[in-house]
């Protein structure tokens, strides 16, 4: 029971005690002024609260009204009886609150209906992704009804994760409220399962390999790169698919003592989902699992691995190793060799003023900084630049234009096209075929500051939104290459956010179109993003595993340097 409610009931009971005494006193003094005190009890009952009224506090409210009736009576005994009856009624509040599972119940079901209704009304990719809202409602409504009945915050987190996953949109995600972070994180951690001392990744050749392997598995001959042929008798990707959160990305994980919200997001692009498809299997099993792997002699062996902890910790570590970019701040530079420097872009945001501006010129200060750094490096012999976009969670497209314009060949370049807002219908305008009407094209002028130098952009499946746009623009430039183990995320429509008491939902809410009027970048029902076709996929093989997990190197960065040398 909330402390403030305990205090409210106690204070009101004490007030009833005061009324008992006042009944006698008022009779002696014979002044109506004392009557006013009988009105105070309901006021106290309503005001001493932090989260507002609650049905479980009904005995408190009824008790206060009973006590207040003393206001209308003159007889001392009646007043005292009413005060006592009110106090007894108020006392019932304690057992009612303690025994009632719906005491201060959170409105998961109501919030689901609000969020779902809002998204249904404003999601801009319904046609593009062929979303069947009625089917989704029919599927999830009973689940949220049950969550409401059970007041199950953990199930709420997982169910929202699954619902968001249905959209295969990197911009559709649910964040629980602060009060539910612990349950949310525990639910996801539990869903990830047990740690058996390794993670499993799918290699480019289709095989599965052990990565981030615990030293204790050396006795079984399992090391980083060991080929895993089966997990509890099944193929690793098949086992992964049995996970309740399969198809969800946990790539924004920064898991630490329940301070960070673990968030489930779906992979918009099927290729990215396949790349990570082995990861979840390594947490699935009981106290022990039978793992078949190839030994050093090339023969298959089966070992029994026992649980040594929770998989969430190892998975977080694995993702950190896979995704870590150059370890410097946003828009910071690092000279990698005599001829190569690296610009790290963690988010497409420079400062608040420029972020809230629609003018590319708002980024002139940022461009001046970048320009002066490049000129300084050029004076030291630097010719080529690596731009690290890994784990870039997006931001302003105008900042993208500001940066890309500096490296782009001279001349006009296309960025993207606005939709057209229909003021009358209060929605994005569509033509007779149901396609969004094209608005103004956004372009920028290239500067070619490197003057013939080359640019390599490194991306991963977490390079999303404005980073997706930047990838698309860089792909089309002759002097640039984009590399990664996967393509970028594949989501570029701008987002809207709806907040309710139990969490908040963000989803694609603003239309961003390509030159031909089609939806820009975001994958459709086929789950193939139009972005990333120009990305040079770096094979995830034994060399990559050794470099990343044994030697602790930034394998993709090394590859980029190698390409430039």
């Amino acid at each position: 029971m909330d402390t403030i409610d305990i205090i409210a009931v106690a204070v009101c009971i004490a007030a009833c005690g005061g009324l008992w005494w006042l009944a006698e006193h008022a009779e002696r003094v014979k002044s109506p002024k004392w009557k006013m005190f009988w009105l105070c009890v309901p006021v106290l009952a309503l005001l001493i609260t932090k989260y507002g009224p609650d049905w479980s506090l009904l005995p408190l409210y009824i008790g206060s009204v009973i006590a207040m009736i003393g206001f209308f009576t003159a007889a001392k005994k009646s007043k005292q009886f009413l005060a006592a009856a009110g106090a007894v009624c108020m006392l019932l509040t304690y057992p009612v609150c303690l025994l009632n599972p719906y005491y201060r119940a959170k409105d998961y079901y109501g919030d689901f209906k609000k969020l779902f209704g809002c998204m249904r009304g404003h999601y801009v990719l319904t046609e593009h992704k062929n979303i069947d809202w009625d089917a989704l409602y029919d599927k999830y409504e009973p689940q949220f009804r049950e969550i409401q009945h059970d007041q199950d915050a953990a199930a709420n987190a997982l169910t929202w994760g699954a619902l968001c996953g249905e959209f295969h949109d990197g911009h559709v995600s649910y964040n629980c409220s602060i009060r539910d972070i612990k349950a949310n994180n525990k639910a996801i951690a539990d869903a990830l399962g047990n740690d058996y001392g390794l993670s499993v990744m799918r290699c480019t050749d289709g095989s599965f390999a052990a990565v981030n392997v615990d030293e204790s598995l050396a006795k079984y001959g399992i090391r980083n790169g060991t080929v895993i042929t089966s997990w509890d008798g099944k193929s690793p990707d098949e086992v992964s698919k049995s996970s309740p959160i399969y198809g969800s990305s946990l790539m924004n994980v920064n898991y630490s003592e329940n301070k960070i919200v673990l968030r489930l997001e779906a992979f918009p692009d099927i290729d990215n989902e396949i790349f990570y498809s082995g990861l979840l299997c390594a947490g699935i099993g009981g106290d022990s699992v039978d793992v078949s792997c190839m030994d050093e002699n090339g023969s298959e062996q089966t070992v029994t691995l026992t649980k040594i902890g929770d998989y969430i910790d190892r998975l977080s570590e694995t993702m950190d190793i896979l995704h870590k970019g150059v370890n410097i701040g946003n828009l910071q530079w690092k000279k990698l060799s005599d001829s190569v420097a690296c610009l790290r872009i963690k988010g497409m945001s420079y400062d608040t003023k420029s972020y809230n501006s629609s003018d590319d010129e708002a980024y002139s200060e940022m461009k001046d900084e970048i320009r002066s750094t490049i000129l300084k490096y050029q004076s030291e012999g630097v010719k080529d630049v690596i731009i690290d976009l890994r784990d870039n969670n997006g931001g302003s497209p105008h900042m993208v234009n500001g940066i890309v314009s500096m490296f782009a060949p001279k001349g006009d370049h296309y960025c993207c096209t606005n939709g057209v807002w229909d003021e009358k219908k209060q929605c994005w305008a569509v033509d007779e075929n149901g396609n969004y009407v094209k608005g103004e094209e956004i372009t920028f002028k290239g500067e070619d500051i490197l003057d013939g130098g080359r640019v390599i952009v490194i991306v991963n499946a977490n390079s999303v939104s404005a980073a997706d746009m930047m990838t698309k623009e860089m792909e089309s430039m002759d002097n640039a290459r984009v590399i990664g183990f996967t393509g970028p995320n594949g989501s570029s429509q701008a987002i809207g956010v709806k907040r309710v008491s139990t969490g908040l939902l963000s989803f694609s809410n603003c239309v961003v179109l390509d030159k031909d009027g089609s939806i820009m970048i975001d994958s459709g029902a086929d789950r193939q993003s139009s972005n990333g076709d120009g990305v040079e996929i770096i094979p995830f093989d034994n060399d990559a595993i050794r470099g990343l997990f044994d030697e602790g190197n930034d394998y993709l960065l090394e590859k980029a340097i190698e390409m430039l040398s």
């Binding site: 009557k35 932090k50 507002g52 009224p53 501006s357 807002w421 209060q426």
Partner: protein, 269 residues
């Protein structure tokens, strides 16, 4: 009783203090609308009256609530200061005529003044900058019409407080709590979790129900030039209208009964 009511209405129309407060509140609300426009609009185009309603209505409505509290506290309260009520009772008037002769005019004039205070600023603003057609006028009128009931309840509350305190200054101070609560929710709801929770969970019976009626559900989207586009939902569900009316009528009765009961036994010193 009718002559007491007539005298109350006469005082309302002739008392300078009422005129000054009315004009001040109207001026404050109107200036606020024009200033809000100056601060919030950086696109160069001046928003019309219906465009600024969603953003400003709750604040203007909480200001308008002061109209009711002032009318109740100052007009009827004056009769406690100059002992008019005492003289009426000495002259043989029944207590219920003195009580309801004041309560009824307050419950008529208070809501009318508050409604005027929350609509006139938009009329003035619209006359200068245009009314536009962002929101359907019918729904807005319905909201204002439904708002009369919570205002009647507020008037009854003010009358109750006035007859408990028997002092216009004390009553003004106490009654101001209501519009102040409304403003607190509008301006800094998250800083007052109780008020926020109460206004959301109990908005139908909350004293600031009137302000809640000014809250128009909105959603916005934007394009790549950061031009913002709003969609509004101005309709009120029929169930909310019915519950607002029922809760207002019930609570009005409760407040009037409490006030009259106290006045009935009061010795008036």
């Amino acid at each position: 009783m009718l002559d007491i009511m007539r005298s109350q209405f006469r005082t309302m129309t002739r008392k300078t203090m009422v005129h000054i407060l009315g004009v001040l509140l109207l001026a404050a609300s109107t200036i606020m609308l024009f200033m809000n426009n100056a601060v919030s609009d950086d696109t160069g185009s001046v928003p019309t009256a219906t465009e600024i309603i969603p953003e400003t209505a709750t604040l203007i409505m909480s200001l308008a609530m002061f109209g009711t509290t002032f009318v109740a506290s100052i007009i009827a309260g004056d009769d406690f200061l100059d002992k008019t009520i005492n003289n009426e009772l000495i002259a043989g008037r029944r207590r219920y005529t003195s009580y309801f002769g004041r309560a009824i005019p307050v419950m008529i004039a208070g809501p009318l003044i508050s409604i005027a205070l929350c609509t006139l600023p938009y009329v003035i603003y619209g006359a200068v900058n245009g009314f536009g057609d962002t929101l359907p006028v019918g729904n807005l009128i319905l909201r204002v019409a439904v708002g009369i009931f919570p205002l009647i309840r507020l008037s009854a509350f003010c009358v109750m407080v006035l007859f408990l305190f028997r002092n216009p200054i004390g009553a003004v101070m106490s009654n101001m709590a209501m519009p102040m609560m409304g403003m607190a929710v509008v301006v800094g709801g998250s800083s007052f979790p109780f008020l926020k929770a109460a206004s959301e969970k109990l908005w139908l019976v909350s004293p600031i129900n009137f302000v809640s009626l000014g809250k128009i559900e909105s959603w916005y989207t934007y394009d790549l030039e950061l031009e913002t586009y709003y969609t509004y939902s101005t309709a009120i569900p029929a169930s909310d209208i019915v519950l607002t009316i029922i809760s207002s009528v019930v609570m009005t009765a409760v407040y009037l009964i409490i006030g009259y009961h106290y006045f009935h036994v009061d010795d008036l010193e």
